[in-house]
């Protein structure tokens, strides 16, 4: 095993109505090749053997794409390092003797389920409000090449579409705003011809749902862009604002 010794200060909260508190855990034998989550696995293994309650945290793919992992580490969403999720954070970013704070996403719209796991169902509901193209399954659609799409537009749409819905933007924002998440979907579809017919309705419906969920307003601090593991640009928020403005002004 490895040779790092660390002190973890972990948020423990037994359900949404519990007050919660920080609990200290020493962890020994940490190797720099471990991912952060593997380090927590080692700790949990130890807790189970001792008969203690292991720390609950969300994770699944462990390769930075499913968006399930969601830790606030030393005051940063997904910890130190840019363009990565917690599962892609490796212990070589830390030093022997370090103290590390581990907390859940904190947002009124993401209630804690247990310890570090939160409920991000609000994102699904924003998506259900309008984050789609209304096209049914059909084997008789036009050919995929019938409408050429300029490469730049396709690339920009892709950049927006890489959002993994993890919620780092919300956790990072001082206002707890979900603008970057919402903007990424609106922007992706507004950049593609397939998304145009419903553009206005989409922008209005998704923003309305976002507000209803209790997310805060965007005040352009730009923190979300910095912590976003997929590097989703603030430009998409600007595009959402334009789409929303046009939709509001021209609404019947």
């Amino acid at each position: 095993m490895g040779n790092m010794k660390l002190t973890l200060k972990v948020w423990r909260q037994n359900g949404p109505n519990d007050n919660g508190k920080i609990v200290d855990y020493p962890v020994n034998d940490v190797s720099e090749d471990m991912s952060f989550l593997e380090m927590l696995d080692v700790l949990n293994d130890d807790l189970v053997r001792k008969g203690d309650d292991p720390i609950a945290f969300d994770h699944d793919c462990r390769e930075g794409i499913c968006g399930m992992c969601s830790l606030f580490i030393n005051g940063e969403a997904h910890g130190p390092g840019r363009g990565i999720t917690t599962c892609q954070l490796h212990m070589r970013k830390f030093k022997d003797g370090d103290t590390i704070y581990v907390e859940p996403w904190r947002s009124a719209a993401f209630p804690v389920i247990k310890d570090l796991a939160t409920n991000r169902g609000a994102f699904d509901r924003i998506q259900a409000a309008g984050g789609f193209v209304s096209v049914n399954t059909s084997g008789n659609l036009v050919d995929g090449n019938a409408v050429p799409i300029p490469k730049d537009d396709a690339d920009k749409a892709f950049d927006a579409a890489t959002c993994i819905g993890c919620g780092a933007c919300v956790a990072t924002c001082p206002n707890g705003s979900a603008m970057l998440f919402t903007a990424a979907k609106v922007s992706q579809l507004s950049l593609l011809p397939q998304g145009h017919p419903e553009a206005k309705r989409r922008a209005l419906a998704m923003v309305e749902q976002m507000d209803k969920e209790g997310f805060g307003n965007c005040s352009n601090t730009g923190a979300c862009e910095i912590e976003c593991p997929k590097g989703i640009s603030l430009e998409h928020i600007a595009r959402l604002n334009r789409e929303y403005l046009v939709a509001t002004v021209t609404k019947e």
Partner: protein, 672 residues
């Protein structure tokens, strides 16, 4: 006793079967669809597409996933691409050629009619996804771009950088959420299916656990669709997500659904090697990298040894002292041989002592030639003169970065080494399972009303899946097959009315699950679940992995039975059943893997031949140009092994579905 397996392949010529079948099977009228409930378990490409499409048609759908959102199903992690016979490249592709490549790639162990249908609907999938706003890669003319994948000689793979699975899944997810918004789909996330409930011989619902509250719930339906993915996590270490599991499929098996070809496992050749005992999963480096990366090991044992000891680096080895073993052994396909072939070749070199990392289990995947080639092309395009070597490298890196940037970043994060400067080190890892629940042409299992789609069924990939075909199959099953075939079954249910979940069958199934949960929680054991899972995985990898033999498989069966016995006696599951309890979730999944693993070994032991991902050391070519290649036995093993549960994984009953090949001639699969 052997029930004859009826594959229900429609009559007629292969290219007319699906059209004729669709035209003749029964359908349910729109008013009646509203009175019919369908449960879809799993929300990956197959499940997400099926749930959305069936809801669009008017069925009342309940969708389940264990993740916190339908968008996180493991299809999201597929990287390289999706095949479709569009022939946009004018390189001779066709429905027939995609069909042929897939049957051959599967080493002639797939059902022809299913594969032909898959090839036939492949083009529709691309059109559907484009219409949903999936941002596929495009060229400067604004048209869809393609690349090549292993085992084929055309470019038919559509992609969205290295995140194709993500983009396709988000497309299916958006269609699903549209139906959720309309109220046509009821979504149950953070729910795990624990059992299927059979009433009068038909699947009529499921027992599920709400993973947040721990509540055991009953859900009734007229049909149940399992879209629950593969079982690669039986090996503990695999490229699957941590939560990927076999529980839904295994419980269905124990309720009467036959399990098809469980031993067919895909070991993917290009994954990041194991770094230590803490390892929780392995990360894939997309097969698309083999378009441009060249795979090699040192030609001299002393060089390999020096590299392992840290005395030399890969870049110190002169061109003449490198062994590009895939190009050497398979000149026609080179680095783009199918996955099973590439994996075995890597194992062969490493076993012979040529591995290039500390553990001796790694080979190089090198992009330096591609960087130089692309750099020169870019210099020409940009009309640069007198370009330096450094400039060419810079230009070339930019091209490689645009194509594979996210993969290179992933690699650097995990390994801590920049793959632009140093050749990647890779090794095979468990990736996909071709085996799964046996289904007929309609995707129905041997239990009426219980269907299996995508990786959860056995049907389309034979003994080896070609790259970029899993996404194709998931979406084909979900968008274009099940919406037709489920209607034929449900046509009998228009007058059934809602399924009563107070029936004794639901009582009994619920009690069984509660008893099992209580056993785990009350067990006075000492070891965490992962302990047993890791041990099971090691047995599977060593004895039922890339190479198998009769003796090892027999040992594995004994060892798995021991681990299973110990697991029930000594596992410790803390906490309560009425709360969020991740250790309890794992315990249930590992309990099922401990039975499945044994069946996989039984199946591998039964199949006295080598085919695709199933390589039995006793059955290989001993001499001639094909020396060391897999040796099939078509006379005795051209069948699907469909196993029936009898109460003990080791005593499953074997049923055989003979595979008949009318279109494709059975030959030795050669990529030389």
């Amino acid at each position: 006793m052997s029930v004859k397996l009826d594959s229900k392949i429609p009559p007629g010529p292969i290219d007319k079967k699906w059209t004729d079948h669709k035209g003749h099977i029964r359908i349910v009228n729109p008013a009646n669809k509203r009175r019919i409930d369908v449960i879809v378990v799993g929300t990956g490409l197959a499940g997400g597409a099926a749930a959305a499409s069936l809801a669009e048609q008017g069925y009342s759908v309940k969708a389940f996933c264990f993740q916190d959102s339908a968008r996180r199903a493991h299809s999201i992690a597929a990287q390289g691409g999706i095949n479709a016979a569009k022939n946009y490249m004018n390189d001779g592709d066709s429905t027939y050629r995609l069909f042929y490549d897939t049957v051959k790639g599967g080493d002639y162990r797939a059902r022809e009619a299913n594969v032909y249908r898959l090839a036939e609907v492949s083009a529709n999938i691309i059109d559907q996804c484009v219409a949903q706003g999936v941002p596929f890669a495009r060229d400067y003319g604004g048209l869809l771009d393609n690349r090549s994948f292993g085992g084929v000689q055309v470019s038919r793979t559509f992609y969205a950088r290295g995140q194709t699975g993500q983009q396709l899944l988000l497309g299916a997810y958006s269609a699903l959420m549209r139906q959720v918004g309309k109220g046509s789909v009821q979504m149950f996330d953070r729910h795990e299916m624990l059992d299927v409930v059979i009433v009068d011989g038909k699947a009529r619902g499921i027992i599920a656990r709400n993973l947040i509250t721990g509540e055991i719930e009953r859900h009734g339906a007229h049909a149940v669709l399992l879209c629950t993915g593969g079982y690669g996590n039986v090996f503990f270490l695999s490229t699957n997500a941590m939560g990927s599991n076999v529980t839904a499929a295994w419980k269905a098996h124990k309720r009467g659904a036959y399990f098809g070809n469980p031993c067919y496992t895909q070991i993917h050749p290009t994954c990041i090697p194991v770094s230590g005992t803490h390892q929780s999963k392995l990360t894939l480096m997309s097969e698309s990298l083999r378009n441009d990366g060249r795979i090699w090991v040192p030609a001299k044992l002393e060089d390999a040894k020096a590299i392992r000891e840290g005395k030399k680096k890969g870049s110190d080895i002169a061109e003449a002292d490198r062994d590009y073993y895939l190009e050497r052994r398979y000149p026609a396909f080179g680095n783009l041989v199918p996955r099973d072939v590439a994996s075995r070749a890597a194992k062969e070199r490493c076993d012979a002592g040529f591995g290039v990392n500390k553990t001796g289990e790694a080979v190089y995947l090198d992009f330096s030639a591609a960087i130089e080639r692309y750099g020169k092309l870019e210099a020409n395009v940009k009309k640069l003169e007198n370009v330096t070597k450094e400039k060419i490298t810079e230009l070339g890196r930019a091209v490689v970065s645009e194509k594979y940037g996210n993969l290179f970043d992933m690699y650097e994060n995990i390994v801590g080494e920049n793959p632009y400067d140093h050749a990647m080190k890779i090794y095979p890892a468990v990736h996909y399972t071709m085996g799964g629940l046996w289904v007929d042409y309609n995707l129905q299992t041997t239990v009426p009303g219980l269907f299996a789609l995508g990786e959860a069924n056995f049907s389309d990939h034979g003994a080896n899946r070609l790259g970029a075909s899993a996404l194709m199959q998931g979406l084909a099953d979900g968008y274009f097959v099940i919406p037709y075939t489920v209607g034929d079954y449900l046509a009998d249910d228009i007058r059934t009315g809602p399924i009563d979940t107070k029936r004794p069958e639901f009582d009994a199934a619920e009690k069984e699950q509660k008893d099992r949960i209580n056993h785990f929680l009350n067990n006075k054991g000492t070891k965490p679940v992962d302990d047993f899972h890791r041990r099971l995985g090691k047995v599977m990898w060593d004895k039922c992995g890339m190479a198998r033999n009769a003796e090892g498989l027999k040992e594995a069966i004994t060892e798995i039975r021991q681990i299973r016995e110990e697991f029930y006696r000594d596992v410790r599951v803390p906490g309560s059943g009425n709360a969020f309890n991740q250790e309890l979730e794992k315990a249930g999944r590992v309990a099922d893997f401990l039975e499945l693993g044994e069946l996989m070994c039984v199946d591998a032991l039964n199949r006295n031949e080598s085919c695709g991902g199933h390589f039995r050391e006793e059955y290989q070519e001993m001499d001639g140009p094909q020396k060391g290649e897999a040796k099939r036995d078509d006379d005795n093993y051209a069948y699907v092994a469909a196993w029936e549960w009898t109460g003990d994984a080791g005593k499953a009953n074997l049923h055989k579905e003979a595979l008949t090949f009318e279109e494709v001639k059975l030959t030795q699969r050669s990529y030389k």
